[in-house]
């Protein structure tokens, strides 16, 4: 008998599959192939269309299991927890991975508690251990200063959340087939003591944790009006603008843009730190970025120790120049 299935917890927003789900497919497909088993996407929402669910199959799932009810339209802790638990108890997957998003990081520990499952947080590496078939889960901790590899030898399912943008989304392959199962949870699983009463979209157009490129603003910008220089650079790179705490505390950027220990952890393909000194608290939120570039007038700024290229000079000269040259390079 082949081992039990590998599950991913796909996410949806307003009835559309969220992109982070496709990154989970990349991870899940690899694991399922190594274990010689099925990859199933579980998705909670309110009556998603077949076409939308099919995208999960097109990108590599063998099966989609859609828990559908009006109460599941938006994330609510209790119904999400109860429905996911019920499915796990019924089908006993071997592995369950979710994205380390506000949803995944909330619902996974709630589910792992009563099931007595091991749960590893915010993984950047997942592998199958050759001789045992156990899931090896690697994650950064202590502000990126250490990495830990963790396994759950006895309990099942083996559960992990995976850091968004730590892998590529799986591409769509035409002609893939799979089955779609719809499940209507019974009313007692849908009860909630929490009501969603309001929602305000973020002011910044792109959230920093979803961006491939982040241009970070530090105290070196001197005043809020100058942030425009960073915004222009971010625009030519289709990126988002992040900030050090100094920049947020001065009101130049809102708190959701803060990178670091008491802000967000980001891991984009490109992080450009401008007028940011590189304190441990800031590094904690960005040092796992793929490529780091630093612009700072102080040639001894610690940020340079983490950068691939460092420009020692005045940001007010360098930023406009860089923006113009990138724009020109994209034209040609």
């Amino acid at each position: 008998m082949s081992p039990k299935a590998v599950w991913i917890l796909a996410e949806q927003r307003e009835g559309k599959v969220a992109d982070v789900s496709y990154e989970l497919i990349t991870r899940g497909r690899e694991l399922a192939d190594q274990r010689g088993t099925e990859l199933c996407a579980v998705i909670l929402g309110d009556n998603l269309s077949d076409a939308e669910l099919q995208t999960l199959i097109d990108r590599g799932c063998d099966r989609v299991l859609h828990a559908s009810a009006p109460e599941l339209r938006h994330f609510l802790p209790e119904p999400y927890d109860k429905c996911l638990q019920a499915l796990i108890v019924k089908e006993q997957p071997e592995i369950l991975i979710a994205a380390a998003t506000s949803t995944g990081r909330t619902v996974m520990p709630c589910v792992a508690g009563p099931l007595r499952a091991g749960l590893t947080a915010d993984c950047t590496g997942l592998q199958i251990e050759a001789d045992t078939g156990n899931l090896l889960q690697t994650r950064p901790a202590a502000g990126g200063n250490i990495m830990a590899t963790i396994k759950t030898p006895e309990r099942r399912p083996q559960m992990a959340t995976v850091r968004p943008h730590s892998t590529r989304p799986a591409p769509s392959i035409s002609g893939r087939t799979g089955r779609i199962d719809r499940w209507q949870p019974p009313a007692d699983l849908l009860k909630s003591r929490v009501r969603r009463v309001d929602y305000t979209p973020a002011v910044e157009t792109q959230a920093i944790q979803d961006a491939d490129v982040v241009v970070a603003v530090g105290r070196g910008f001197k005043k809020g009006d100058n942030v425009e220089l960073a915004r222009k650079l971010a625009n030519v790179l289709d990126g988002a603008v992040g900030a050090s705490r100094e920049a947020v505390d001065r009101g130049w950027l809102p708190y959701p843009a803060q990178v670091g220990l008491s802000g967000k952890t980001v891991s984009p393909k490109l992080y450009i730190a401008v007028g940011v000194s590189g304190t441990v608290q800031h590094l904690a939120g960005m040092q796992t970025s793929e490529t780091i570039i630093a612009i700072n007038s102080d040639s001894e700024a610690p940020i340079f120790n983490y950068a691939e290229i460092g420009l020692c000079g005045d940001l007010f000269t360098l930023l406009p120049m860089l923006t113009a040259k990138i724009a020109a390079a994209k034209q040609s």
């Binding site: 938006h74 802790p77 998003t101 990081r105 909330t106 996974m108 520990p109 709630c110 589910v111 792992a112 508690g113 009563p114 007595r116 499952a117 091991g118 749960l119 947080a121 915010d122 901790a141 202590a142 502000g143 200063n145 250490i146 990495m147 830990a148 590899t149 963790i150 396994k151 030898p153 309990r155 003591r193 929490v194 969603r196 009463v197 929602y199 973020a202 944790q209 979803d210 790179l237 959701p256 220990l261 008491s262 393909k269 490109l270 441990v280 904690a284 040092q287 796992t288 570039i293 120790n305 950068a307 691939e308 290229i309 460092g310 420009l311 020692c312 000079g313 120049m321 860089l322 990138i326």
Partner: protein, 266 residues
């Protein structure tokens, strides 16, 4: 009304030392402080207490070595009424499942409060799992990524920071909330607070006091096992380019554009 705030003792410095031969963390080396985000949780509790019409008691609960009494005292100097420390060799090496299970057992002993507050994550383990798992054990609704919380008739209103915006939720009855830095600006301890805190008692509870068996707490009972700890190679050999005068600046910027092309970023 009663509020329980969970506080964790963490090493002060982020630059954790590691025993390179055994691959384990050297914890004693760094001096310990309250997990920074937990200060914001304490402040939320103090603000709720100050705004409440009824009497309100704030209890800080921590699981850790005996030295963690220090962080509980610090919390009391800020205005927290009472401190409880869960300390027992049996708890050592607990993963988040066991930590949450043990803390939940303590909350049951202390009596279920109207609100439990914790930080969004601790600076060392950084899982952010302890709070939500505890909520599940206590059958409390878990409100995570909270950027504001206030009391309303019959429950709580909270604002949550999501990836793409802010959500406001209302909760009927007791809840567990994990707070972000944004939720409140921590106050500083006063001299009088410090003096009062020295007079207050800290209750210390063992596994036996909680009725928690070795099958449910500590290293052996933990579902997860750390197989290996290693140091990542983030430190880069930086190509440092002087860019003080216009000619240098031009050359340096060209080099950056070239790198971005090489990496397929533009």
């Amino acid at each position: 009304m009663k509020i329980i705030v969970l506080i964790k003792q963490v090493p002060e410095s982020q630059a954790t030392r590691m025993d390179e031969t055994t691959g384990t963390l050297i914890r004693e080396a760094a001096s310990s402080v309250i997990n920074p985000l937990d200060l914001h949780a304490i402040e939320c509790a103090l603000l709720i207490k100050e705004a409440a019409k009824e009497k309100c008691e704030i209890v800080c609960l921590s699981m850790g070595p005996p030295a963690a009494t220090k962080v509980l005292r610090e919390a009391m100097a800020l205005g927290v009424d009472h401190g409880v420390l869960l300390s027992d060799r049996a708890f050592a090496g607990s993963d988040t499942w066991c930590t949450a299970f043990t803390l939940a057992a303590a909350v049951r002993k202390l009596g279920l409060p109207d609100l439990i507050l914790c930080g969004e994550r601790a600076t060392d383990g950084e899982t952010g799992q302890t709070g939500p798992a505890m909520g599940a054990f206590l059958d409390l609704p878990v409100i995570s990524f909270v950027s504001h919380i206030e009391q309303i008739a019959g429950g709580w209103r909270a604002r949550r920071m999501l990836e793409d915006g802010y959500e406001t939720v209302e909760i009927d009855g007791p809840a567990l909330a994990c707070v972000l830095k944004e939720a409140a600006v921590p106050r500083l301890p006063t001299l009088q607070g410090k003096r009062l805190s020295r007079a207050k008692d800290i209750d210390i509870m063992s596994a036996q006091d909680l009725g928690v068996s070795q099958d449910d707490t500590g290293l052996k009972a933990s579902p997860t096992r750390v197989v290996k700890i290693f140091r990542p190679s983030h430190l880069k050999k930086c190509e440092k380019l002087p860019a003080m005068d216009p000619a240098q600046a031009e050359k340096a910027v060209d080099r950056v554009v070239c790198l971005l092309k090489e990496k397929g970023l533009i």
